[in-house]
């Protein structure tokens, strides 16, 4: 990730696309080809007919760059709509992480206690390890992972951000 991303504000952009082959490659290629940053990317089909997929991208950049990103995304032929959720009003963002902690004794008990505070569930357990499932905004997930670090953090798998606007209006 580029240096720019550290100072430039983050934006979560939702892209509704026609579910044709290669559409994800087009979106990703656009970002790499034009030097835009991808902090996180999620994609899945979102309608019953399996015609449409939604891509959520967390990126960063100043206003001019974000406007460019939006315009460039809209220019892709199989794109229905692009919404900058960060700009368009309040939104909900969630991420899910599976966090493996290898610990014994006091650390093991502490890990369970922290998990409880974060409402993380243990979805796998051996005598020497746990896999926790934690959901929340990225900040919460980051905090959970940070706390697990000294307790025996062994592996992390994250979904990346999914997001949706609050209120009655649909995309």
């Amino acid at each position: 990730m580029s240096e720019k991303s550290e100072i430039a504000p983050k934006h979560t952009i939702a892209v509704l696309v026609d579910n044709e082959p290669g559409v994800l490659a087009r979106v990703v290629g656009l970002f790499s080809g034009r030097g835009y940053n991808i902090e996180s990317l999620t994609v899945a089909k979102v309608d019953a007919g399996e015609d449409r997929s939604r891509i959520n991208i967390v990126t960063s950049g100043n206003e001019m760059i974000i406007d460019q990103i939006r315009a460039q995304l809209e220019r892709l032929i199989p794109v229905f709509r692009v919404v900058d959720l960060t700009e368009s009003g309040p939104s909900v963002e969630r991420e899910l992480a599976l966090v493996k902690v290898v610990a014994k004794g006091e650390n093991r008990i502490e890990a369970l206690r922290v998990a409880d505070i974060f409402r993380a569930r243990a979805v796998d357990s051996t005598l020497g390890s746990f896999v926790f499932e934690v959901t929340g905004d990225s900040g919460k997930v980051n905090a959970f992972i940070d706390l697990m670090q000294p307790l025996g953090l062994a592996e992390v798998s994250r979904t990346g951000v999914v997001a949706i606007a609050r209120g009655a209006d649909a995309m």
Partner: protein, 595 residues
Amino acid sequence: MSGTEQNGKATLSGAEILIRALTDQGVEVIFGYPGGAVLPIYDALFAQNNIRHILVRQEGGAVHAAEGYARSTGKPGVVLVTSGPGATNAVTGLTDAMMDSIPIVCLTGQVASHLIGNDAFQEADTIGITRPCTKHNYLVQDADEMGRIVHEAFYVATHGRPGPVVIDLPKDICVNQGHYEKPDLENLKHKTYRPPIEGKTEAIAAAVEMMAGAKRPIFYTGGGLINSGPEACARLQELVRLTGYPITSTLMGLGAYPASDDRFLGMLGMHGTYEANNAMHDCDVMICLGARFDDRITGRLDAFSPHSKKIHVDIDPSSINKNISIDLAVIGDVGKVLEQMLARWKDGAYQPDQAALNDWWTTIQKWRSRHCLAFTQGADIIKPQHAIQRLYELTKDRDTYITTEVGQHQMWAAQFYKFEEPNRWMTSGGLGTMGYGLPAAVGAQIAHPDSLVVDISGEASFMMNVQELSTAMQYKLPLKIFILNNRWMGMVRQWQQLLHGSRFSETYSEALPDFVKLADCFGATGMVIERPDELDASIQKMLDTDGLVIADVRVAQEENCFPMVPSGAAHNEMILGDGENADRPKVSGEGMALV
């Protein structure tokens, strides 16, 4: 066509459907080159008489020929190439068409579906390779889908901002049977792609208000006008007449406004005129129509037209605020937007600020009197500028199309050949592809068999697609290839002289062929033009000679192309040809890297 009945509907092979769909699109010409993967398509072509196939000599030539065809007619150009190397050879042309927004539909062969991904013979990931250099691309996976995809591809290539579209055709899909019905092409709608046509009323009103309030206005116009069509260009002329404002054009926009008109300040940008660049720098309202603030236009960004309000009319929203901050954007087709602006101007009975405009024109005339394109033609050696000027004088009253290669000759052509109409000028602007001009001339001549088509060439560029001479000979195309032979890759030599201490690294055109003999061996006519006093008669002889002529015009070898805004400089820091700074521009290291 062959076909069997199935469920009461005739079935056709995928290749036959392809040809039918192309015919329904009104395609008359395909530029192509055969190979294993496209044999079923060549078979289907063989069995019909609606579409003419022009056999090029290299696939890169096919795309440039299709570009020349498209640019000179306003219709999409169609290309057919085989898989693997056929498709990869087409990539430069596709990128060229992408940069210059030329509508192209390129059909590429592909290995059979079950072999895709297997590193099969002549397999290339054409979809992956061409994704960034096309407006869109398709892999046909079912013969039943062929018709829909072909029509969609033409829709995408020609609507909104035009561009190249690739259709990748696995061999088995071309052989398999499928159904085809001609769709209602007039009312075709795309599922997701809805380019804007009309400008928003409020934006039009605001734009006209801003225009009318201008004291030092300028129209800055580009290739979008050519793409929008002759009607858009006619409306531009009306608006310029109505307002009396000065107008300049990018390389790609030449011909949208008649160059001989007094309001035309010539081309702007790196090799633009002194008056055009200074007017851009000092204007208070800039009306950008179908141009995109390319770095060859703006020069140093933070010094670009610092005191102006900028109106930008473009069909592509991603062009707005990309390089330059815009005060007022109008998204729409430039022809339609001009119609709306004209109506608004007339309805509101707007009047330009005549007193301010008179002052502005006085300033512009002062810049003009600098005669920035002046050169001195001596008795011994032909100046390249003079050669273009004479070519212009001797061809201007004819039905002429001009193509160019890339380099100094291209810029001199843009400066000295005056285009009065759109679609007469074909050059590689955005990509700057040497080797464009000869195949583009082939395409233009195929589209306009009775017109005069001249490729203004450089001796180095000419060698890049010289094989297309053979194509031109096969179809008896009477192209006139006018080589400004300076024995240098002149434009690169110029940069080495001005920016790299005259260290002429690898830019001398060594071991050039004898162009007269070269013409001869292809069955064409060659001539050498060496002396200024024989120039007119020789050009006339070239024009009067039947068939293809290569004129090897020996021009002053070390002539530089001025004015020049060096990279990293502002518009008003131009180097002029006659000034004492001509050999020593002030260019920073930073500017050098901007190249």
